[in-house]
Protein backbone atom coordinates (compact mmCIF):
# COMPACT_ATOMS: atom_id res chain seq x y z
CA UNK A 1 0.00 0.00 0.00
CA UNK A 2 1.35 3.38 -0.97
CA UNK A 3 1.20 6.05 1.75
CA UNK A 4 0.91 9.64 0.52
CA UNK A 5 3.85 11.82 1.53
CA UNK A 6 1.77 14.42 3.36
CA UNK A 7 -0.18 11.78 5.24
CA UNK A 8 3.13 10.54 6.57
CA UNK A 9 4.17 14.10 7.54
CA UNK A 10 0.82 14.59 9.27
CA UNK A 11 1.16 11.37 11.25
CA UNK A 12 4.73 12.27 12.30
CA UNK A 13 3.56 15.76 13.39
CA UNK A 14 0.73 14.25 15.45
CA UNK A 15 3.09 11.73 17.06
CA UNK A 16 5.48 14.54 18.04
CA UNK A 17 2.63 16.64 19.47
CA UNK A 18 1.14 13.77 21.47
CA UNK A 19 4.54 12.51 22.65
CA UNK A 20 5.74 15.89 23.91
CA UNK A 21 2.24 16.77 25.12
CA UNK A 22 2.22 13.63 27.26
CA UNK A 23 5.57 14.60 28.79
CA UNK A 24 4.45 18.19 29.45
CA UNK A 25 1.13 17.17 30.99
CA UNK A 26 2.74 14.47 33.12
CA UNK A 27 5.45 16.82 34.45
CA UNK A 28 3.45 20.01 34.79
CA UNK A 29 0.89 19.64 37.53
CA UNK A 30 1.88 22.58 39.70
CA UNK A 31 0.14 25.85 40.47
CA UNK A 32 0.17 28.58 37.84
CA UNK A 33 0.71 31.44 40.25
CA UNK A 34 3.29 31.38 43.03
CA UNK A 35 1.12 33.41 45.38
CA UNK A 36 -1.72 30.94 45.81
CA UNK A 37 -3.05 30.53 49.36
CA UNK A 38 -5.64 27.86 48.64
CA UNK A 39 -7.67 26.25 45.90
CA UNK A 40 -7.91 22.97 44.06
CA UNK A 41 -7.87 21.81 40.49
CA UNK A 42 -8.03 24.68 38.08
CA UNK A 43 -9.27 27.30 40.52
CA UNK A 44 -6.78 29.20 42.67
CA UNK A 45 -7.43 31.78 45.34
CA UNK A 46 -5.05 34.68 45.77
CA UNK A 47 -5.69 37.07 48.67
CA UNK A 48 -5.00 40.66 47.78
CA UNK A 49 -6.23 44.18 48.38
CA UNK A 50 -5.58 47.56 46.84
CA UNK A 51 -3.64 50.23 48.70
CA UNK A 52 -2.62 53.52 47.10
CA UNK A 53 -3.40 52.23 43.61
CA UNK A 54 -1.24 49.10 44.04
CA UNK A 55 -2.10 45.48 44.62
CA UNK A 56 -0.95 44.25 48.05
CA UNK A 57 -0.78 40.48 48.65
Amino acid sequence: MKIKKNTLFGVIALLIVFGIGFFVFAEGKGEINGKVISGSGNVQIVKLHVEGGQYIF
Binding site: E27, G28, G39
Partner: protein, 227 residues
Amino acid sequence: MSIKEFTKELNGNRVEGELIKTILYSLVTSFLILGILYYFNFRNVADFMSKYGFFLFFAVLSYALIVPTIRQIRAYQNMACMSGMMVGMTIGMISGFLAGYFLGATNGMFIGGVFGMFVGIVLGVWTGSCCGVMGSMEGIMAGLMGGWMGAMTSVMLLNDHLKLATGLIFIVSALILVSLNYMIYIETKETERQRREDHFMTILISFILTTLTIWLIVYGPRSALFG
Protein backbone atom coordinates in the same frame (compact mmCIF):
# COMPACT_ATOMS: atom_id res chain seq x y z
CA MET B 1 -17.07 21.23 -3.87
CA SER B 2 -14.34 23.57 -2.72
CA ILE B 3 -13.64 21.96 0.67
CA LYS B 4 -13.11 18.62 -1.05
CA GLU B 5 -10.82 20.29 -3.59
CA PHE B 6 -8.89 21.97 -0.78
CA THR B 7 -8.45 18.67 1.07
CA LYS B 8 -7.29 17.09 -2.15
CA GLU B 9 -4.90 19.98 -2.77
CA LEU B 10 -3.24 19.31 0.63
CA ASN B 11 -1.58 16.41 -1.19
CA GLY B 12 -1.16 18.30 -4.45
CA ASN B 13 1.64 20.20 -6.17
CA ARG B 14 0.62 23.76 -5.26
CA VAL B 15 1.77 25.55 -2.09
CA GLU B 16 -1.18 24.01 -0.21
CA GLY B 17 0.54 20.67 -0.69
CA GLU B 18 3.44 21.98 1.41
CA LEU B 19 1.36 23.17 4.38
CA ILE B 20 1.56 19.94 6.41
CA LYS B 21 5.28 19.64 5.75
CA THR B 22 5.69 23.25 6.95
CA ILE B 23 3.79 22.45 10.16
CA LEU B 24 6.12 19.52 10.75
CA TYR B 25 9.26 21.63 10.10
CA SER B 26 8.03 24.34 12.46
CA LEU B 27 7.15 21.83 15.19
CA VAL B 28 10.51 20.07 14.93
CA THR B 29 12.42 23.40 15.00
CA SER B 30 10.54 24.76 18.01
CA PHE B 31 10.57 21.54 20.03
CA LEU B 32 14.28 21.06 19.30
CA ILE B 33 15.07 24.54 20.65
CA LEU B 34 12.86 23.93 23.67
CA GLY B 35 14.42 20.51 24.27
CA ILE B 36 18.01 21.76 23.95
CA LEU B 37 17.41 24.75 26.23
CA TYR B 38 15.58 22.55 28.75
CA TYR B 39 18.32 19.93 28.82
CA PHE B 40 21.23 22.36 29.14
CA ASN B 41 19.71 25.13 31.22
CA PHE B 42 16.08 25.09 32.31
CA ARG B 43 16.26 21.67 33.95
CA ASN B 44 17.83 23.51 36.86
CA VAL B 45 15.18 26.24 37.00
CA ALA B 46 12.80 25.40 39.86
CA ASP B 47 9.34 24.21 38.72
CA PHE B 48 10.11 25.07 35.09
CA MET B 49 7.88 22.40 33.59
CA SER B 50 4.99 22.84 36.02
CA LYS B 51 5.00 26.63 35.75
CA TYR B 52 5.82 27.24 32.10
CA GLY B 53 5.72 23.90 30.25
CA PHE B 54 2.00 23.98 29.54
CA PHE B 55 2.05 27.47 28.02
CA LEU B 56 5.26 26.88 26.07
CA PHE B 57 3.75 23.73 24.59
CA PHE B 58 0.70 25.61 23.33
CA ALA B 59 2.86 28.51 22.13
CA VAL B 60 4.88 26.11 19.97
CA LEU B 61 1.67 24.56 18.57
CA SER B 62 0.29 28.02 17.79
CA TYR B 63 3.43 29.10 15.94
CA ALA B 64 3.29 25.84 13.97
CA LEU B 65 -0.13 26.91 12.67
CA ILE B 66 0.79 30.54 11.95
CA VAL B 67 3.99 29.79 9.97
CA PRO B 68 2.33 27.72 7.16
CA THR B 69 -0.17 30.52 6.56
CA ILE B 70 2.71 32.98 6.12
CA ARG B 71 4.28 30.58 3.61
CA GLN B 72 1.02 30.30 1.69
CA ILE B 73 0.65 34.09 1.49
CA ARG B 74 4.29 34.58 0.43
CA ALA B 75 3.79 32.06 -2.36
CA TYR B 76 1.14 34.22 -4.06
CA GLN B 77 2.54 37.66 -3.07
CA ASN B 78 -0.31 39.76 -4.48
CA MET B 79 -3.97 39.52 -3.56
CA ALA B 80 -7.15 41.49 -4.02
CA CYS B 81 -7.73 44.31 -1.54
CA MET B 82 -10.47 42.59 0.47
CA SER B 83 -8.55 39.32 0.75
CA GLY B 84 -5.35 41.12 1.76
CA MET B 85 -7.19 43.02 4.48
CA MET B 86 -8.64 39.75 5.78
CA VAL B 87 -5.16 38.20 5.74
CA GLY B 88 -3.57 41.13 7.62
CA MET B 89 -6.37 41.24 10.16
CA THR B 90 -6.51 37.50 10.83
CA ILE B 91 -2.76 36.96 11.10
CA GLY B 92 -2.26 40.15 13.14
CA MET B 93 -5.09 39.36 15.53
CA ILE B 94 -4.52 35.64 16.08
CA SER B 95 -0.72 35.78 16.32
CA GLY B 96 -0.89 38.80 18.63
CA PHE B 97 -3.65 37.34 20.76
CA LEU B 98 -1.96 33.97 21.25
CA ALA B 99 1.53 35.37 21.92
CA GLY B 100 0.09 37.90 24.38
CA TYR B 101 -2.09 35.27 26.03
CA PHE B 102 0.73 32.82 26.75
CA LEU B 103 3.12 35.47 28.03
CA GLY B 104 0.37 37.18 30.02
CA ALA B 105 -0.38 33.89 31.79
CA THR B 106 3.20 33.54 33.02
CA ASN B 107 4.54 37.10 33.32
CA GLY B 108 1.58 39.46 33.62
CA MET B 109 -0.31 41.89 31.47
CA PHE B 110 2.34 44.47 30.62
CA ILE B 111 4.99 42.26 29.09
CA GLY B 112 2.31 39.96 27.60
CA GLY B 113 0.58 42.92 25.96
CA VAL B 114 3.81 44.42 24.63
CA PHE B 115 5.05 41.12 23.21
CA GLY B 116 1.65 40.21 21.75
CA MET B 117 1.33 43.64 20.16
CA PHE B 118 4.86 43.40 18.72
CA VAL B 119 4.31 39.92 17.22
CA GLY B 120 0.82 40.80 15.95
CA ILE B 121 1.87 44.06 14.31
CA VAL B 122 5.04 42.66 12.69
CA LEU B 123 3.31 39.58 11.25
CA GLY B 124 0.10 41.48 10.43
CA VAL B 125 1.89 44.23 8.50
CA TRP B 126 4.18 41.76 6.74
CA THR B 127 1.39 39.48 5.53
CA GLY B 128 -1.16 42.28 5.01
CA SER B 129 1.22 44.10 2.67
CA CYS B 130 0.27 41.54 -0.02
CA CYS B 131 -2.53 43.93 -0.96
CA GLY B 132 -0.87 47.24 -0.19
CA VAL B 133 -1.36 49.84 2.50
CA MET B 134 -4.88 48.79 3.53
CA GLY B 135 -3.77 45.28 4.47
CA SER B 136 -0.80 46.67 6.39
CA MET B 137 -3.03 49.06 8.30
CA GLU B 138 -5.37 46.20 9.16
CA GLY B 139 -2.34 44.31 10.44
CA ILE B 140 -1.29 47.18 12.71
CA MET B 141 -4.78 47.62 14.12
CA ALA B 142 -5.38 43.91 14.64
CA GLY B 143 -1.93 43.40 16.20
CA LEU B 144 -2.54 46.23 18.66
CA MET B 145 -5.97 44.94 19.70
CA GLY B 146 -5.09 41.24 19.66
CA GLY B 147 -1.87 41.56 21.65
CA TRP B 148 -3.33 43.51 24.55
CA MET B 149 -6.58 41.54 24.48
CA GLY B 150 -4.73 38.22 24.74
CA ALA B 151 -2.64 39.32 27.71
CA MET B 152 -5.68 40.81 29.44
CA THR B 153 -7.73 37.65 28.94
CA SER B 154 -5.11 35.37 30.50
CA VAL B 155 -4.54 37.66 33.50
CA MET B 156 -8.30 37.88 34.09
CA LEU B 157 -8.55 34.09 33.89
CA LEU B 158 -5.75 33.48 36.43
CA ASN B 159 -8.16 32.34 39.13
CA ASP B 160 -10.73 30.75 36.87
CA HIS B 161 -9.82 27.70 34.77
CA LEU B 162 -6.93 29.28 32.90
CA LYS B 163 -5.61 25.98 31.53
CA LEU B 164 -9.00 24.88 30.24
CA ALA B 165 -9.51 28.27 28.58
CA THR B 166 -6.07 27.93 26.98
CA GLY B 167 -7.13 24.70 25.26
CA LEU B 168 -10.43 26.19 24.09
CA ILE B 169 -8.82 29.38 22.78
CA PHE B 170 -6.18 27.36 20.96
CA ILE B 171 -8.82 25.18 19.25
CA VAL B 172 -10.83 28.20 18.06
CA SER B 173 -7.66 29.98 16.88
CA ALA B 174 -6.59 26.86 14.99
CA LEU B 175 -10.01 26.73 13.29
CA ILE B 176 -9.67 30.39 12.27
CA LEU B 177 -6.19 29.82 10.82
CA VAL B 178 -7.27 26.73 8.87
CA SER B 179 -10.23 28.75 7.55
CA LEU B 180 -7.76 31.42 6.44
CA ASN B 181 -5.73 28.75 4.58
CA TYR B 182 -8.95 27.72 2.87
CA MET B 183 -9.88 31.32 2.04
CA ILE B 184 -6.47 31.97 0.49
CA TYR B 185 -6.83 28.78 -1.56
CA ILE B 186 -10.26 29.90 -2.84
CA GLU B 187 -8.97 33.37 -3.70
CA THR B 188 -5.84 32.21 -5.48
CA LYS B 189 -6.76 28.92 -7.10
CA GLU B 190 -7.01 30.52 -10.52
CA THR B 191 -3.63 32.27 -10.24
CA GLU B 192 -0.11 30.98 -10.71
CA ARG B 193 2.28 30.66 -7.81
CA GLN B 194 4.58 33.72 -7.76
CA ARG B 195 7.38 32.53 -5.49
CA ARG B 196 9.02 29.19 -4.85
CA GLU B 197 11.14 28.90 -1.73
CA ASP B 198 12.73 26.32 0.52
CA HIS B 199 11.94 26.00 4.23
CA PHE B 200 14.53 28.50 5.47
CA MET B 201 11.87 31.10 6.36
CA THR B 202 9.77 28.48 8.14
CA ILE B 203 12.69 27.49 10.33
CA LEU B 204 13.81 31.10 10.87
CA ILE B 205 10.35 32.39 11.91
CA SER B 206 9.77 29.39 14.21
CA PHE B 207 13.24 29.84 15.73
CA ILE B 208 12.78 33.57 16.39
CA LEU B 209 9.26 33.27 17.83
CA THR B 210 10.04 30.27 20.04
CA THR B 211 13.34 31.67 21.34
CA LEU B 212 11.80 35.06 22.12
CA THR B 213 8.84 33.46 23.89
CA ILE B 214 11.01 31.14 26.00
CA TRP B 215 13.46 33.88 26.88
CA LEU B 216 10.72 36.31 27.94
CA ILE B 217 8.76 33.69 29.88
CA VAL B 218 11.81 32.63 31.89
CA TYR B 219 13.85 35.84 32.20
CA GLY B 220 11.39 38.60 31.22
CA PRO B 221 9.94 41.17 33.62
CA ARG B 222 6.97 40.13 35.77
CA SER B 223 4.02 41.90 37.28
CA ALA B 224 3.27 41.94 41.02
CA LEU B 225 0.92 38.96 40.56
CA PHE B 226 3.85 36.74 39.60
CA GLY B 227 6.40 38.24 42.00
